[in-house]
Symmetry: C2
């Protein structure tokens, strides 16, 4: 049997191979993905993001347990260089890395964080496509929410959970700097710590006062203590509620179309950039242009305009 046939049969080792193929962008991975794209659309993607130390891995871990208990098939992609999540610890002694249940009910992959962020986001999306084609009901995507990754998660997931802890003002500050806008559900984890009630109240007030860009959804704040499994069912309930409301409002569908369109443009951009670089590298002496800029006789903006002109002249 070919790899794709074994994959279609639900063989977990075939999934693992295909995920590696996608992650490493081995030759032919686009054709494989093209094939997988024909049979997707049944997996819901849940993103969990937040600052380092918010307990994202533990939350994901607990959500997996809950979902498996509900007879869901679950895949996890972790994109977090600081994450202690290793798959090995996930199901206690039952599952170690590379020893996933033979019934194909669970799979986990931690993505390498080297290289371009764009590349990483699209790899995560591609792996989620493989999970979908494999037949998972739910894919959980864990990313660290500092820097830019938190924005990519919107383009990859159907629902975004932002996890924070009742620490110093740092969490709130980080949050205010970008996480506020992307949360569909807020999770205040480690809720046994002092200040928990206050941060829940603060968040609720900020959400109340902030520009409510959506009239069909009021972002809930859920307090959890993931390490003890406390209120994970409450969290999952809000996540599922969001998904059901989003489906009814048409937002779920609209969002997926938007994600797909964005992906299409990104692929096209890659293709055209490559083509353009190949052509222009032959047509123009880039090193001389760089010399001119360094000598103060040109600047990147004029040089770029000239190169663009040169290129359009050459293709027309």
């Amino acid at each position: 049997m070919s790899l794709l046939e074994r994959f279609d049969e639900g063989e977990i080792r075939a999934l693992s191979k295909i995920v590696s193929l996608i992650e490493n962008r081995e030759e032919g991975y686009e054709d494989t993905l093209g094939h997988l794209y024909r049979k997707i659309g049944n997996t819901v993607r849940i993103g969990v993001t937040g600052p380092p130390g918010a307990g994202k891995s533990t939350i994901v871990n607990r959500l997996v347990h809950q979902l498996l208990k509900d007879d869901k098939r679950v895949g996890v992609v972790a994109v977090d260089p600081t994450s202690p999540f290793t798959g090995g610890a996930l199901l206690g002694d039952r599952v170690r890395m590379n020893e996933f249940p033979i019934d194909g009910s669970f799979y986990f992959r931690s993505m390498a964080t080297r290289g371009e962020v764009g590349g990483l986001a699209s790899s995560t999306d591609n792996v989620a496509v493989a999970y979908d084609a494999f037949g998972f009901d739910v894919t959980l995507i864990e990313t660290v929410g500092v820097g830019q990754v938190e924005l990519d998660i919107i383009d990859t997931c159907d629902v975004v959970v932002v996890a924070v802890v009742p620490e110093s003002g740092d969490a709130v500050q980080t949050m205010k700097a970008g996480l506020m806008e992307i949360a569909d559900v807020f999770c205040v984890n480690k809720s046994d710590r002092p200040g928990s009630a206050r941060i829940v109240a603060d968040l609720r007030m900020s959400l109340e006062l902030g520009n409510q860009s959506r009239d069909w959804w009021k972002v809930p704040v859920v307090a959890t203590q993931a390490v003890k499994g406390e209120n994970i069912d409450g969290l999952l309930e809000k996540i599922l509620l969001y998904l059901s409301v989003a489906r009814e409002s048409g937002e779920f569908e609209r969002h997926r179309r938007q994600q797909l369109e964005k992906k299409l443009w990104a692929l096209l951009q890659d293709q055209i950039t490559k083509e353009m670089q190949d052509k222009l590298s032959k047509m123009a002496r880039i090193d001389q242009i760089v010399d001119n800029i360094l000598n103060g006789n040109s600047d990147p903006f004029s040089a770029s305009r000239e190169l663009f002109q040169k290129w359009t002249d050459s293709v027309s």
Copy 2:
């Protein structure tokens, strides 16, 4: 006098206006930058990155003090949503936000972190160009080193300081996940805390064992206590040593050329992407293509190839 003339005269308020123009990408900012590019090349750019809580702002603050004492003119760009650095606190009571020394010896700008990461990185670079044209000897760029930002700093700075603290294993883990490769100088800050000597030793060993990609530079590890100003002179010494060795080896120049070439391609890519989107949006029914993918009759990879073909046919 025009804004650019006042800028050329060294008026700090003119710098402030031009930085705003660049940061907000107001109309004509590219022409302004084109003008500024003609007279740059004299500022050295020092990047300071590391995980949240490493004390980056305090380190930058202290480095500014030291440099001003050495009669250097200094500009700071902070790109850190979690940063408490506000310019106001920087020179004690002497300087408050928007009250910079009239002699043009110091300026500070904190960049908003909303929007695209590519946009933010290029804005930071553009602001550094303005600082250079204004005549600063040194530009310090502070960025939070989690996620992707740490990779952008290589494309913006001449030398990169990675700051960590002797905390839990988190710092080391974060570091191993990407910061190791980009450090020209390591700074173990808060060196009064327990574990400091160990992390210094660990880092030195990792650096020793790791693939030394550069035979002309051995990354030093400097222990500081920035809040008390301890060993900031030692840190600065290593930074300046790096710069001088890099200049001698030709790496400084090679790196700047590489940065410029990368910037040039990025600008071209923006331009071509815009042109392509405009054209294709008129030529093809993107919504129908998205429908086809959602219905399992196509996939983004095939669709992208078809659109690319359509576009090259149309321009040739």
